[in-house]
Amino acid sequence: MESLTNQERLTTYISFSLIISILFVSIFLPPESILKWVLIGFGLILISVLMIYVFILYPGKDFQKGGSRKLRFSRPDSSSFQPTIIRPSGRAKDTIIEGKCHFCQNLAIMGFTCSYCKNYFCSEHRLPEKHQCERVLRV
């Protein structure tokens, strides 16, 4: 829920309660009742309209105004940004093509050896930030 705005969170709660209402209507009203299918239909329409407005159309308003450029192109300000450059300490001598990923312990075929800590990783955890590389973290 952390990545959602307050409006999106509220919409999610309303949608959950609508889903539970639909579930109750589905269970307790008889299938021959027209009201059952009308209520379910309108419930689904309400959920989708709410979600489309709050999750898709509302965030897009910023884009229309041009203010959202920050969201799309959120690169650090060049004047204040001072990156720490960590140089790799040389290539691994032996190329390993099969082994266990040092991070997730799964079998990794054609995996990668980290240039910094020299451990072997699967494609998912090959980047230093993905396997919480000790050498990079130390810096």
Binding site: F16, I45, F55, R72
Partner: protein, 205 residues
């Protein structure tokens, strides 16, 4: 704000025709379809034409939902028809399990993963909305056409549910990776109807 190019229009029309053809064979046997066309049975042809008009928005509006939402966020988007996928879709009419994915919408530009998830949400949400509209309409209309509309709403929910499977390139994976609760709302609403729909696995309960 919303734009198409001429090639894309043709590909969208071709994709829609493929979807309508494969979609019709889900409920109507291929032999009956061929017989209706070869014998020129006006009554059945009229029925098929009417049904085609009802089901074509299910796929077309899904793809347009992705395309227009991407363009709404100021990104470039274009529908691409993949000939091999289109061929696979056409071939699937011969098998009990249908594959309907003649193409996909490509989005170009620089954007965050949450924007990607929001664009992915647009398609299934359109299908859930259409499912709700057709289900409510089927209750009001009743009779044969009511039954047909009810089946169309079930088809719409099936498309939404299939796209919401959180695997590889499907829309569900993008939404699931972004926010689990948003994914749960979409998946839950389509799953409930998949179970309790008159054509669903519990047969209306």
């Amino acid at each position: 704000m919303f734009s198409f190019n001429s090639r894309e229009k043709k590909e969208l029309i071709a994709g829609t025709l493929i979807f309508v053809f494969v979609g019709l064979t889900i409920n109507i046997k291929l032999e009956i379809l061929i017989a209706a066309v070869t014998t020129l049975n006006i009554e059945i042809l009229f029925f098929l034409f009417g049904l085609s008009l009802i089901i074509f928005p299910l796929w077309l509006f899904h793809e347009l939902g992705h395309k227009f939402s991407a363009q709404y966020y100021g990104l470039r988007s274009q529908f691409h028809l993949y000939p091999n996928f289109a061929f696979l879709s056409l071939i699937s009419v011969l098998f009990p399990i249908k594959f309907i994915a003649p193409g996909v919408v490509h989005v170009r530009g620089e954007y965050h993963s949450d924007i990607s998830a929001r664009i992915a949400m647009a398609g299934p949400l359109v299908n859930i909305m259409l499912g709700g509209i057709f289900l409510a309409l089927s209750a009001f209309i009743g009779g044969n056409w009511g039954g047909m509309l009810s089946w169309v709403s079930y088809l719409s929910i099936n498309i939404a549910l299939f796209n919401l499977i959180p695997l590889s390139v499907l829309d569900g994976a993008k939404i699931y990776n972004w926010n689990f609760y948003a994914f749960l709302v979409l998946f839950g609403s389509s799953l409930i109807l998949y179970i309790f729909h008159p054509y669903g696995i519990l047969g209306g309960f």
